[in-house]
Amino acid sequence: MSGLQTEPRMSAYLHARGAQMGFPVGGNFELTPRCNFSCPMCYVHKKDAHVEGELTAQQWISLAEQARDAGMLFALLTGGEPLVRKDFFQIYGAMKEMGLMVSLNSNGSLLSGKIRDKLLEDPPFRVNVSLYGGSEETYASMCGQPSFHDVVENVRALKEAGVDVRLNVSITPYNLADLGDIFRISRELGVHAKATAYMYPPIRLDGDRSHRLSPEEAAQAMVDWDLLRFEPEEFARRARAMKSCEAVEQRECAADLHEGVQCRAGSTSFWLCWDGRMLPCGMMPGPGTRPLEQGFQAAWQGLRDLTRQIRTPDKCASCPSRPVCCSCAAVCVTETGKTDGVPEYVCRMTSQQIARAWRAYEERSL
């Protein structure tokens, strides 16, 4: 009759329910475009103390309330660096009191002192910290600040306090040489690190592609990362799977490989930009709606309609490498300017990743 149980798969269940019933389960709140770092490959890192058009705390809280009323459970606070907002805890505290499972994206440099103490009073569901390198020199060249030690110590302190922390690693020309150190640090911290060498062209900023690796270098970086993180047997299994074009890991997004948006973006999740536009995904420039003007529910329904109209390339849907490729509507539009444009960079990266993983496997099999 009565009951209470924890359910680890509840998130997947809720997203399935949301897709069926049309309600948003997760929301990304890009609280500010401002950041104390200036990583060149990032699409939003303004240095100004004040940015015209940035939403007020009250506007964010109102949007979150409306999203909560529509069904949202998970909220990710991101930026820029969300902790540069002086009123961050006003927004964070209000969202926690709404019964939201709030997570935080941060570069980790400000997670100390009073900010950390305050956060630990009512910790987030998860903190995702971007780890940009393995030395002060790398941080200085990539982020504009020698914050390596601070970030590592802040992650360590959060972890020791019992917060669920994850590391996100963006592999670029600036930190490629640090890959081994980054992996070692993540192991020492006991924190899972997720790395990617695929960098979306930052078209919401300036579209400059010069701060990422070539497709071949990116493919090699992913193989090197896999060699670091997997035992030989697991690496071999994955290399064989990739060679056969089988999916090597469970993708959150790929329910089936049809033409169109395959992930939760615009289906059960939304991205609210710092200026109040609602997008399916933060990497995409559009299509978008305006919840401040339209009201949340109308903007959400509008976003779902717009997302359903997005088409991805026929060539991708029938490509044999599709199960191991990271292409999606956001990749296509950022690479080619249209969602049905074939992202040649990713085609090259994927084919090279398959070939190079196989080569590494064969070399180690001898």
Binding site: Q5, M10, R17
Partner: protein, 86 residues
């Protein structure tokens, strides 16, 4: 009955959950799913003095045998105690 952890009840897509807040997140960083009657009892907990009060409320609102209701309430409260919520 005194709750030892702060939990916020949410109903989404016809399902009811408890979301931990404050320091409860450290021990219960996840969702707790409540059945319909579990949610009914949850709402009564802060005002209820004992299990007998909960039983009376359940019997008044649901068509259920007293023995079954008593056992289920006891099981539900036991789980809450196990998780140091109650």
């Amino acid at each position: 009955m005194e709750l030892r952890k702060r939990m916020i009840k949410r109903t989404i897509g016809g399902e009811t959950f408890l979301v931990p807040v404050g320091r409860a997140v450290y021990e219960s960083n996840g969702l707790y799913f409540l059945t319909e009657v579990g949610a009914f009892i949850w709402d009564l907990l802060p005002q209820a003095r004992d299990e007998e009060e909960l039983l009376a409320a359940v019997l008044e609102s649901y068509e259920v045998e007293e023995d079954i209701a008593r056992a289920d309430i006891s099981e539900f409260l036991g789980k809450l105690k196990e998780m140091a919520i109650l």
